[in-house]
Symmetry: C2
Subunit: 327 residues, 2 copies
């Protein structure tokens, strides 16, 4: 089978982060010529250890992916751009909205402006979030669901989506937008809940500390990182690249309490307690969410290959081996 | 009848602009204690002559309404905030997207952050735009119509709306959002088409130069400035202030060709020619638009009081008297 990324030039913004670095590992394995840009912002997930072992097989640029002057020379000649740099914490976005604006609006806009100016043929994949929907009005949530973000992060990620649609429609760029749900797996941020609450759960489970489940009955879906990487790669070569939007879901829908139980079964010395949502979080919580991702499955043939218990188990084993690099 | 603005403290961002200054004039007449902030940005509509004759009856701050440090001391103690500072040109937003981001995202966010910190009780009215809908899917366009902006300006104005909704829902601020259509009247920007194409038409008609009508069959609605001011005032005291969104329309729906004829009837030495849309504009044109504004009419009793021919006639007479201040 031919490999569409072999010998292709690929730029990944936020490339030292959880998703970016896992994507880079797969691309390196497939023979792509990979450049990463990351500023290792303390609030984001960048970590140099994420590329341990492949450092010599790619180019790493420590720089600001919100600056068109930095991006323009990097983008020239690239075949693919994975526009992943972002700030993911909902709570941080409420506490520091201007910083979120800078990272999540200026960043994607800078990448698109650079592409327009120096490389209008590059294929662009933008990592968005289910957060743009806000509190779902029906389930499963498909791409036609109205958008009504309930936090600043959602507002800015939605603006990022609109930029990608506009630059396709107005300037002819080739862009695809993936709305990710919770992505979990090796190299996720576990120091705090900035990428997902599940990072903190993993950390507590590893430390055999009790972790807190807020609410507990909320339904969610989870994408294992290898499946998310496969989806990003499929999006990059998807024939629909006129600002098309696709949801990405997981292999099942599960309540947070059941997810906690699944984790504790794998680490029996861990434990959890269910508590009420803290007020500051409740007000930006979206309740249940799970995606209808049939549109993406039908267009690309993608489907999640990793059952949730295996996803959690592999994640735990990764941190067993690399604990000190992530805490 | 009691006047809800008498002796009340009112802050208007973008207060030297077309809408802001007309609002200020009415508020001064009604006995409000008005403060304006405006940075007289060359691309926006600020003009000191807009407040000629009332300068001593209000306070003018020449400053940056995108800076929370500037806004915080101004907002303390205010009863009302009209959040009007903005960049309105669709074309400029495509050519200088970061500038549009600064004015139309950072600006409203700065005002809301300042309100949250120093004056969470202030009543806030945000001037948004029909541009957030993009190309309408049905007519007349009501507030439930999906939002899908077709230019950067629309993306950023929509983000501004979401901020006002969020700060109401999360922080309890009292906010109302008006989606304006074309607003016309005395003190509009006529040097170029940055506020509305109609400014250029007025200018050409006054100069007895032929003006261009692009397309011509597009249907639009127009709000006369006095009616827009009445709507803003009604929004400020509207009981629905939890980020509620209201469309504002005009007294009739008219094609651009018929509007051009109406203008030429009032200035018989003027003339126009219909031409095809220039490509760079066509791609961000929204086609027909006219609002369903029944929700606002029902909630507030507002209705347009100025027929379109009278609106145009009054506008022309204003520039007859004050031509040199606006060209």
């Amino acid at each position: 089978m031919s490999n569409p990324y072999h010998d292709k030039k690929v730029l990944i913004t936020g490339g030292l982060g959880f998703i970016g670095s896992n994507l880079a590992r797969t691309l390196v394995r497939e023979g792509a010529r990979v450049t990463l840009i990351d500023n290792l912002s303390p609030r984001c997930g960048g970590n140099q250890f994420n590329v341990a072992g492949i450092e010599r097989k790619l180019r790493i640029v420590f720089g600001n992916a919100q600056d068109p002057a930095v991006l323009k020379p990097l983008l020239a000649g690239q075949d693919f751009l994975f526009n992943l740099a972002g700030q993911t914490s909902h709570q941080d976005s409420m506490l520091a909205p201007f910083e979120d604006l800078h990272v999540n609006c200026e960043g994607p806009l800078a990448a698109l402006e650079a592409a327009r100016l120096v490389n209008p043929e590059v294929r662009i994949v933008f990592a968005s979030t289910r957060q743009v929907y806000g509190r779902p009005q029906y389930y499963p949530v498909d791409e036609k669901h109205p958008v009504l973000p309930v936090d600043i992060n959602g507002v800015h990620k939605l603006a990022g989506e609109f930029y990608h649609q506009l630059y396709s429609q107005v300037h002819g760029l080739k862009t695809v937008i993936l709305r990710l749900t919770n992505t979990i797996g090796p190299r996720m941020h576990i120091r705090d809940a900035r990428q997902t609450f599940f990072g903190v759960w993993i950390r507590c489970a590893m430390e055999e500390q009790p972790f807190e489940v807020w609410g507990g009955s909320q339904l969610r879906d989870f994408t294992y990182i290898d499946d998310a990487v496969a989806a990003l790669l499929a999006a990059g070569t998807c024939p629909h690249s006129s600002g098309d939007i696709f949801n990405l879901g997981g292999d099942r829908v599960i309540s947070l309490s059941d997810l906690a139980k699944m984790l504790v079964e794998l680490r029996p010395k861990a434990s959890f307690k269910v508590r009420r949502y803290p007020a500051a979080r409740k007000v930006i919580d979206i309740g249940d969410y799970f995606a209808d991702d049939r549109k993406f499955r039908e267009q690309t043939g993608w489907q999640p290959a990793t059952p949730l218990p295996a996803a959690i188990s592999r994640t735990l084993r990764f941190y067993d081996s690399h604990w000190k690099e992530y805490v």
